[in-house]
């Protein structure tokens, strides 16, 4: 069975430091996902350089099918030696998940990955191998939809050390906390946000160590194609609509003119809804064969605004993804489709400029619709989606 892997990450930086000493790299070659998390020795700039080098080298090498031995050897030879500690050191956790569910896990000195299946913590049987005097834990897994995995840096396991908790939060407690919040339709980024938020509480908002959580969620692939904005060249209208209608999965149209183009090309009527559920979001419409029709730039900006709010963990609710389901306004319905009902997103973005949006009396956001679309795509990628864009 084909699967899709969503991966999200979030970090706290040690108090007083500008840079985080943990680093995460997520790469997506066509047949797999590679997630690498590294925790560099020390903190601040030095640690950041060590961990960034580690994630970059490891992800690139694994992507090019290097063996773990080669990766470790390269890391040892490349990492700069710390002048104080006379050591070149960074921990790492590497997970490679192929699109058929086969996964490989390599851990070096990081807390064990937490694996949750069917709502329960599950042990990962591991072998320990020795490469260049370093002990690496190795595991092979067969993952299936519904599985969730969490990589933690030691800042999570030690959260609260010397403050609220003598020994820190500890792995077992973190694991059972994750188990407690596990729910079938809860998105992994909600749990990652929640976990990082709690770590910050335990540190009393002054993290004593760089703290990172990576959440990985296995899903069945779901496809969605979104068409927004009229094409710059009117002769392309037909082509765009054809692309939209031939796509597999769900179809969404954002924008009045875009909706008119689709309706015209398909010879269908648009039914526009009256009711304004949220005064900030224009009404939605309906075209037969399209899953959702919304207004364009205002709805998209609202989506960006809501997602941004969610990303800033302090105010985000752990039920964010499920509450969005019930709201019913255009932006929430669009976000529900994008977040809860799709993994592979394809954007068809027309570049024509609406003269009305250049009017100086209009909010500046409108003149920069392309910017809004790009920002939305960026935010969606951060929630673990695979996004492709095509401009017309």
């Amino acid at each position: 069975m084909k699967i899709f892997t969503e991966a999200v990450c979030k970090s706290l930086t040690k108090k007083g430091e500008e840079l985080c000493g943990d680093n995460v790299e997520i790469v997506r070659p066509h047949d797999s996902v590679i997630v690498v998390m590294a925790d560099g020795l020390g903190s601040g700039v030095k640690a950041n350089i060590l961990s960034t080098l580690t994630t970059r080298i490891a992800s690139t090498m694994i992507k090019n099918r290097a063996s773990i031995e080669e990766v470790v050897k390269t890391l040892i030879q490349t990492l700069p030696v710390c002048r104080v500690r006379k050591l070149a050191y960074s921990t790492f956790t590497i997970l490679k998940v192929e699109n058929n569910g086969n996964a490989q896990l390599f851990e070096f000195d990081n807390p064990d990955v937490i694996f949750i299946r069917d709502g329960r913590i599950k042990d990962i049987p591991k072998q320990t191998i020795k490469i260049e005097e370093r002990l690496i834990r190795v595991a092979r897994l067969k993952l299936r939809p519904g599985d969730k995995l969490y990589m933690l840096s030691d800042g999570v396991v030690h959260a609260g050390v010397g403050g609220v908790l003598n020994l820190g939060w500890q792995w077992e407690n973190v694991a059972s906390y994750l188990e407690k919040w596990e729910k079938k339709d809860r998105h992994v980024s909600e749990i990652v946000n929640q976990l990082v938020k709690v770590c910050n509480y335990m540190y009393n908002n002054k993290p004593g160590d760089d703290t990172t959580v990576v959440g990985i969620q296995i899903k069945e692939p779901e496809y969605l194609t979104l068409f927004t904005g009229p094409p710059e060249d009117k002769n392309k209208d037909k082509e765009v609509v054809k692309r939209l209608m031939e796509s597999k999965g769900k179809r969404v149209v954002c924008g009045g003119t875009a909706a008119n183009i689709v309706a015209r090309e398909m010879g269908k009527e648009i039914k526009t809804n009256f009711d304004l559920i949220n005064p900030q979001v224009p009404p939605t419409g309906e075209i037969e064969g399209i899953d959702l029709v919304t207004e364009g730039v205002l709805t998209l900006s609202k989506c960006v605004e809501i997602l941004r709010k969610f990303q800033s963990s302090d105010i985000a609710s752990i039920n964010f993804f499920s509450t969005i389901r019930d709201k019913g306004d255009g932006a929430s319905r669009l976000l529900d489709l994008l977040l809860n009902h799709s993994t592979h997103l394809h954007f068809l973005v027309g570049r024509a400029v609406n003269p009305a949006h250049q009017n100086p009396n209009f909010p500046r956001d409108l003149t920069i619709k392309l910017k809004v679309v790009k920002e939305l795509i960026n935010l969606l990628k951060q929630t673990g989606k695979k996004v492709d864009v095509e401009f017309y």
């Binding site: 009045g256 008119n260 224009p282 364009g296 609406n354 003269p355």
Partner: protein
């Protein structure tokens, strides 16, 4: 039936299309035009620079505010617009 379509595209929405709709919904019963008028919302009527746009029968009205609704309905009542069957 005279069809009245109020644009709810981006520009018209920002310029208060919903207030215009509400005004129509309020005044149509007052003018006892429920059987003569069909109120609809439309996606982008293509006159974004002159929002709010309202299409009555085959005629377009631009830069409409809730205060203008009364005038439109009075004209409808007098039969100024072609009725569709």
């Amino acid at each position: 039936m005279v069809e009245i379509t109020v644009c709810v595209g981006s520009s018209c929405h920002l310029k208060g299309a919903h207030d215009v709709i509400k005004q129509f919904q309020k005044l149509i019963p007052e003018y006892q035009l429920e059987d003569k008028v069909e109120l609809k919302a439309g996606f982008c009527l293509g006159k974004c620079t002159e929002a709010v746009t309202v299409k009555v029968g085959e005629e377009y009205f631009t830069s409409l505010t809730p205060d203008d609704v009364q005038q439109v309905l009075e004209a409808v009542k007098k039969g100024a617009f072609k009725e569709e069957k």
